[in-house]
Amino acid sequence: MKKGLKMAVDIGGMTIANPVMPASGAFGEGMDKLIDFNLLGALVPKSITKYPQRGNRNPRACETQGGMINSIGIQSKGIDHYLQETIPYYEQYCAPLISSISAESIDEFVEMSNIIASVPSVVALELNISCPNLKNNGQAFGMSDAITYQLVDRVRETTDKPILVKLTPNVTDIQSIALAAERAGADSLVVANTPLAMAIDIHSRRPKIGNVMGGLSGPAIKPIIVRQIYQVHEVSRLPIIGCGGVMTANDAIEMMLAGASAVQVGTANFVSPTAMIDIIQGIQTYMEEHQLYHIDKLIGGVMVRNQWEKDYI
């Protein structure tokens, strides 16, 4: 990195070396042959559930124009395996470990957060209150501001470590959910998870996903996520991690201009396993070209009409 260029960002009390990290569920140990995990801002393994679960029926993924729909259903080996195998594996890297937690109830979120936050090498918790692939027709905890408040408030009591709340884009008013999480004591908001989607094979007349509906990811959803980052940044003081459709450094920069302090990269890893490294380098090049010495200068830097008119006049 060019001397004097500051890429480190603060995410609710946790400083990460650069603003690029994987999205939970699109990252795992299999990628260690292809990229150096030490170069990433943080490491976010797949969401963990309390008990082992097999996940949803096949087919679990399908490609769409500029995206993919998945309904994995959080296949998991359970918290015991996570503590014994997953965490020790990630401890070998210097990038901080963020544990993503998925649970069936508020009590279970509290119980799991308590256990995982007590592991010294876990630097922060990400509460996945937004996975659309579980029960109740795509419903998620994060669709209600009251439940979001209650859930985050209860988890807040268990730990002083940063709590990242992963919001769902499947809501009418994301600002109210973001504010509920903030009032309850969240340290950062991940905006967002996958929008609920559906695709049909017109020849067989069957849904292309075994679970009928799934979450859409990839470049197709980026404009929706940029809009939601902008909306959340307008009302919340919390650092935002943008998530949804980041394929290139330009996408990451766009999200940062909308208000994100960092980004998570998911589907791009499947297309190019070096995507996250390329994005870090691309942000660096952009900073050099625009003579930005501190990445903070990018965050929320979008100039909306009244601002640029003022500048122009």
């Binding site: 569920g25 795992g28 299999g30 797949k46 124009q65 993919m68 998945n70 499947f270 297309v271 396993p273």
Partner: protein, 261 residues
């Protein structure tokens, strides 16, 4: 597994629906085995459609070249067919668990359907080098789809072809053929790819005759590197059903373990 940019040496249409690609693999240092696959980026252009890579099993493995035989039936394979000799193509691999073949094997049975013939051709190539007698049953919708027959005839002792077109590919008829082969020769191992129905048939017949078998599964993959859990299948090990990943734990599995229903 590595991310390679290899030079396309040849890419041509060989039948109504199938194409054959040869790439220069001289820079690939890793050992490549039959049953493994490469996850290929369908296009060099900066486009998000098609978005994901496509997994392709290896058709033939030569000293400095790799061959792929693929069916063009969607946007990804249509793009793949546009590669010209001299262009670079992005491949991620070699990935997955390969077939295993014991040196003690003298006679093996290969049962392939459709594009599964390409997957088993690499195994036939290896078995021939090990001086193993190979009996292959190739099944396809029509004669025109039996494009690897000549390759298989080069490596196999006997090749039997069945098609819907000829009315010879129904499971009952294939069952008779397998029974005849198993009664005539002491088949030591059986391998299959390309059809769930034929895999189930071979699973039952192998078990009944005390023959070990392997199957290469073809599940839809998104990442192809063990991360996303899209390509899972069920296997029964020691009486317990487990959901495993085709890309990382397979695509080759012991035939007796796979739960097809």
């Amino acid at each position: 597994m590595k991310d390679y940019h290899l030079t396309v040496l040849s890419n041509r249409q060989v039948s109504d629906r199938y194409w054959h690609m040869i790439v220069d693999s001289s820079v690939v240092e890793e050992r490549i085995e039959p049953g493994q696959f490469f996850n290929i980026k369908p296009t060099n252009h900066e486009t998000y459609y098609p978005l994901l890579r496509r997994p392709f099993s290896i058709y033939l493995i030569n000293e400095d070249t790799l061959e792929f035989l693929y069916k063009v039936d969607g946007p990804g394979t249509r793009q793949l067919a546009r590669y010209k000799p001299g262009e670079k193509i992005n491949l991620l691999g070699p990935a997955g668990v390969p077939f295993t073949m014991s040196k003690d094997c003298n006679k093996v049975l290969l049962l392939a359907r459709g594009v599964g013939i390409a997957t088993l051709a690499a195994l036939a190539q290896k078995a021939a080098r090990m001086n193993i007698e190979i009996y292959a049953i190739l099944s396809a919708r029509k004669q025109d789809d039996l494009l690897a027959t000549k390759t298989m005839e080069k490596y196999c002792t006997n090749v039997y072809c069945v098609t819907e077109e000829d009315g010879t590919s129904d499971v009952e008829h294939v069952r008779e053929m397998i029974r005849d082969l198993m009664e005539t020769y002491p088949i030591h191992a059986a391998y299959t790819c390309g059809s769930r129905r034929l895999s189930m048939l071979l699973q039952k017949m192998s078990k009944g005759n005390g023959i070990t078998g392997q199957v290469a599964l073809e599940e839809y993959m998104a990442c192809g590197m063990g991360v996303c859990y899209s390509c899972v299948c069920d296997v029964k090990r020691h009486g317990v059903t487990q959901t495993v990943k085709s890309c990382e734990d397979g695509p080759v599995f012991p035939l007796e373990e796979v739960v097809f229903e």
